[in-house]
């Protein structure tokens, strides 16, 4: 078919993204997340834009209201004239390979706003969390030229379930992690709490328009106080009751997100986080490439050797990894 699907060169894609072409942003995101032909050159070309935009992760169980919060945060940011890109990640079914990417419904009021770019992504191959292509996707958004002629969206928001225990976890990907919970999440939340307590920079207890929100806030504060640091300089994790429905507390939540960004800069912690992101980007790719390469090297001869007990799995796997067959 004509045009679009035919391969645009990496060079042209980058230059169009750098000129603020959202169609090119979208195409580039497909190329790097599909890992389709020529994606390596594209991913390579966008890497230098790493670090251009502050990245905020919103994580929490399904139904806690992450997408609804994204929607209200975007409204606030747009009132200030700041541009926002959102990557919303939903799980791929391990059985069918299909996915329902349902976050869009909550933000469709911004569909015609040129200052907002929203993209739904599926986890593809990962059970939970994110897959390693998320890094390249972020770099594409960091290269986009905004209306203000600045490189990189003013904000990049990433929505994902996020448990603090995923192979590529949200905490390895973004500068600031906002954990979203809601009242009545009882047991489910208890299970998640262990992981999220470790990674949260800010807590948002959503659905404050419902009863029991105070209880939820108190229980999180309680759990946090156990790990309280005595270091005066350290960031103390704020817990906010908010409502995406009524708008209550959203401005305070945004203030905390910005305060955390400022803390990262003032304390020098930002350098630590960026290094951690780069380490994860590299190591997740290494493990991906090793897996792919090594598995390609497994042949029928190896299996035959096992059947005939001429070798054993451990010896063979070491040989295969060394490139000896």
């Amino acid at each position: 078919m004509a045009g679009r699907r035919s391969l645009i060169s990496a060079e042209e894609l980058v230059s169009r993204v750098c000129q603020g072409d959202q169609g090119a942003v979208s195409r580039a995101l497909t190329r790097v997340t599909d890992e389709s032909d020529g994606y390596e050159e594209i991913a390579r070309s966008f890497f230098p834009f790493h670090g251009n935009s502050p990245t905020i992760g919103l994580c929490g169980s399904p139904g806690s209201g992450k997408s609804s919060l994204v929607n209200t945060l975007v409204s606030l940011l747009r009132k200030r004239g700041e541009s926002v890109a959102i990557l919303a990640v939903d799980p791929t079914s391990a059985y069918t390979g299909g996915a329902f990417l349902g976050d869009r419904i909550r933000v469709q009021q911004h569909a015609l706003d040129e200052g907002v770019f929203f993209r739904s992504l599926a986890t593809r191959g990962m059970v939970g969390g994110l897959n390693e292509t998320i890094f390249s996707a972020i770099h594409v958004l960091e290269a986009y030229e905004t209306e203000k002629k600045k490189k990189g969206f003013d904000w990049i928001l990433i929505e994902t379930v996020g448990t603090g225990q995923d192979e590529v976890d949200i905490a390895d990907v973004v500068d600031t992690v906002v954990c979203v919970t809601a009242p009545y999440q009882g047991d489910e939340f208890q299970a998640m709490k262990a992981g999220t307590m470790e990674i949260a920079d800010v807590f948002a207890v959503n659905k404050a328009d419902l009863e029991e929100v105070d209880k939820a806030v108190a229980s999180i504060k309680d759990a946090l106080s156990l790990g309280l640091s005595h270091d005066e300089e350290a960031w103390s994790i704020p817990v906010h009751a908010v409502s995406a429905r009524t708008g209550q507390g959203i401005d305070v939540l945004l203030e905390s997100i910005e305060a955390h960004g400022k803390y990262l800069l003032d304390s020098g912690e930002i350098a630590v986080r960026r290094k951690r992101q780069l380490r994860k980007e590299l190591s997740s790719l290494v493990s991906r490439l090793i897996r792919r390469n090594a598995l390609e090297r497994v042949t029928d001869c190896h299996i035959k050797a096992l059947v005939e007990k001429k070798s054993d799995p451990l010896t063979l796997s070491r040989k295969i990894l060394k490139g000896v067959s």
Binding site: S93, T96, L101, I105, Q108
Partner: protein, 138 residues
């Protein structure tokens, strides 16, 4: 690429009516058939649908309409997609649409129109065939 990635489909509900049970049935069926499905929700303008298709870089857009404005809305979406450089995105529709309208819609660039009785399995296999064909040509 080790395995082919799922096709991405946008299901959109243009027009003013607020009943989207039909759209939701399609969304679920296509997900279960292995597609990545994005749903816009109800009351979408043609402009919103085209911009969403652009940002989501979908392979196909399915328009669900109970009755009424299909003769203006469907071609409008087709044209806006073209204007956005998305002329190769497959557009299909569903709803209660008279035979003669179907013929006219196809002339105007709608690839296929499904009546209310169509099984979701048929829609899924239609999409797989049509999109497999398109990606071979590319």
């Amino acid at each position: 690429m080790d395995n082919k990635n799922a096709y991405r489909i946008l299901i959109a509900k243009p027009g003013l009516d607020g009943h989207d049970r039909g759209a939701k049935v399609i969304v679920r069926a296509l997900r279960d058939a292995g597609f990545e499905v994005i749903y816009t929700g109800i009351r979408q303008t043609a402009e919103m649908i085209a911009r969403t298709a652009l940002q989501e870089d979908v392979d196909a857009v399915g328009l669900s309409l109970l009755s009424g404005a299909h003769m203006t809305l469907f071609p409008r979406v087709v044209n806006l997609l073209k204007e956005n450089g998305l002329g190769d995105v497959l557009v299909f529709g569903g709803g209660i649409i008279p035979e003669e309208d179907m013929i006219e819609l196809k002339k105007q660039g709608v690839a296929e129109v499904f009546g209310p009785g169509t099984s979701t399995t048929d829609i899924a296999s239609y999409l797989t065939t049509a999109l497999d064909g398109a990606s071979k040509q590319a």
